[in-house]
């Protein structure tokens, strides 16, 4: 117990910092119309390339400055967060459900279901993921739902591999045999005995995958293959910022910081959650 509580104490800051940032970003994204100081699409060439608030020439109400078309950067980041979070939640959840279910079946049942599923995973992993995503979006057409679908189709293998390995080791535990002795069927054992024990890994992976989905969406936006160019996304803001890096560094730097913080928070949050669950296993 002592060690567990020590570990818990050490994890707390990580959990709270990562969770805090994600919560802040999420709330901002949900209430974007109320929070954003400006209209993210409103162009005003009189206000182009305003610097952030602490530099000379800043205008009140444009905290992080404006881009080359005079659009408020902070507002664009907040609205861009909406798309980032929608993609993160929808794509990661779909990939998670598909991959975990297949992984659980392959790992627990073994035999031919495992052989088929593992073969598919091997083939899938042979494609370079970003190239695969670009290819898929090119086929499916741009738009929010194709981006989500593409990420789910590519990244389910991530869940499948990990959950399969965990389910396999769980299947060897005596409590699985014990459940057979108690009269449970295979499906019942899988859901009652195996699933609860792989759940911490599923949760950690899910959180990590949300971060990955944010990056993939940003990459697709960056190469102009995501959502329509009107709606701001973090990737498209970065792409625009790149063009004016010498005149207005902030248009590139702030969205990059936002992206990195979010991705990092997702992965740290997942790890911390898993560790939090884990003392039960000791």
């Amino acid at each position: 117990m002592d060690e567990a509580s020590v570990a818990r104490g050490g994890l707390a800051p990580r959990l709270w910092l990562a969770g805090g940032w994600l919560l802040l970003a999420l709330v901002a994204a949900i209430f974007a119309p109320l929070i954003a100081p400006q209209d993210p699409l409103a162009q005003d060439l009189m206000l182009e390339r305003l610097p952030p608030f602490w530099l000379d020439g800043a205008e009140p109400g444009y905290w992080l400055g404006t881009d080359s078309l005079g659009r408020d950067l902070l507002s664009r980041l907040i609205f861009g967060g909406r798309i980032a979070f929608i993609v993160a939640f929808a794509a990661a959840t779909s990939a998670c459900l598909l991959g975990s279910a297949l992984g659980l079946i392959a790992g627990y049942f073994g035999g031919w279901p495992d052989r088929i599923i593992s073969r598919i995973v091997d083939v899938w992993m042979a494609f370079p993921p970003v190239l695969f995503a670009i290819l898929l979006v090119a086929v499916l057409g741009t738009g929010l739902s194709s981006v989500i679908l593409a990420i789910a189709i590519i990244d389910w293998t991530r869940f499948c591999r990990v959950i399969r390995a965990e389910a396999m080791s769980q299947a060897r535990m005596d409590y699985v045999e014990s459940a057979r002795i108690a009269g449970y069927g295979r499906m019942g054992i899988m859901l009652r005995e195996v699933l609860p024990n792989v759940l911490p890994s599923v949760v950690a992976l899910l959180s990590l995958e949300m971060g990955i989905a944010v990056i993939v969406e940003a990459i697709l936006s960056f190469v102009n293959l995501s959502i329509s160019t009107d709606d701001p996304t973090w990737g498209s803001i970065i792409a625009e910022g790149r063009l004016s890096i010498h005149q207005a560094w902030w248009v590139l730097v702030f969205p990059l910081i936002t992206l990195i913080l979010t991705v990092l928070s997702f992965s740290q949050f997942g790890e911390a959650l898993k560790a939090r669950f884990d003392p039960v296993l000791r």
Binding site: A182, P279, L281
Partner: protein
């Protein structure tokens, strides 16, 4: 003798031998049990003893039908259960229970003790009065009621094994397989668990197959003993007869190899027969 609860004839079990599995394709089958015949009388405790590789655990798992025999019959109360499917076995599970060797791995870390003991009850139509039945099961093995809400990691080794016993006996089964249930415990705890099992088996009139590598424990607990070696029965008889007058050399060797807690300066001296290397035991 009482009529047998189990009657086993010509029992053979073959399992895939993963050490000889080729890179591609299936592992070849290795015969673990090579034709066993024996009876387990109703209400008796039978010790099954053997060294590693003797097939004693495989035999136990075949009795409770966790594995399917490749040949022979296992009749339980006169009915051959050796070929029943998982679904056909389900109604029989209530009477065929098992206590596991490692109480750590046999208790799911994510379930409370209550849920662990309640699982077989729920699954076998005894889901009514669940609280009462679990309370009764805990009391039977001498655990306080407050343990119902605890998890595996909050219990000591001996307490975990008590939970394992409580789970197996919650259904008041006719047969219990006890597979090396004290081999992972300290001697002081081991004595507690064994006296508990001894008492409960007598009270509930259980038929028990007690698998162990320890003949000392078997002598105390069992009425009859089956000595196994390399998938065959070497000797089977009533306990006192076996210990006082072992018929087979192997049984005598086993007994002579037990280091009793008493001074015996001759014990480590090679006996004439054992001088040099006993090639029957050393395998390369």
């Amino acid at each position: 003798m009482a009529e047998p609860l189990f009657s086993v004839r010509g029992l053979k079990v073959a399992l895939p031998d993963m050490t000889r599995k080729p890179l591609i394709g299936r592992a070849p089958l290795a015969e673990i049990l090579k034709g066993l015949d024996f009876d387990l009388p109703k209400g008796s405790v039978t010790g099954i003893v053997g060294e590693s590789g003797s097939g004693k655990s495989t035999l136990g798992r075949a009795l409770v039908r966790l594995i399917e025999p490749s040949a022979g019959s296992i009749s339980f109360e006169g009915r051959d259960i050796s070929r029943l499917s998982e679904a056909e076995l389900r109604p029989l599970r209530r009477d065929l229970q098992m206590i596991f060797q490692d109480p750590m791995s046999s208790l799911n870390p994510r379930h409370t003790i209550f849920n662990i003991i309640a699982a077989p009850l729920r699954q076998n139509g005894l889901g009514d009065r669940l609280k009462e039945r679990v309370a009764e099961a805990l009391q039977r093995v001498g655990l306080p009621q407050s343990f119902a809400s605890r998890y595996r990691h909050e219990l000591s080794g001996g307490q975990r094994q008590r939970v394992g016993i409580a789970r197996a006996l919650a259904l008041s089964p006719k047969f219990v397989l006890a597979d090396e249930i004290v081999s992972g415990l300290d001697v002081s705890t081991q004595a507690q668990i064994l006296t508990l099992l001894e008492k409960l088996a007598a009270e509930m009139g259980l038929t028990v197959a007690f698998i162990s590598h320890d003949l000392s424990v078997i002598r105390r607990l069992c009425q009859q003993v089956i000595v196994m070696r390399e998938g065959r029965i070497v000797e089977a008889s009533a306990t006192d007869a076996l210990f006082e007058n072992p018929k087979e050399t192997y049984t005598r060797d086993l007994l002579a190899a037990i280091p009793l807690p008493e001074i015996d300066p001759d014990w480590l001296r090679p006996t004439p027969r054992q001088a040099g290397v006993d090639h029957s035991i050393i395998k390369l």
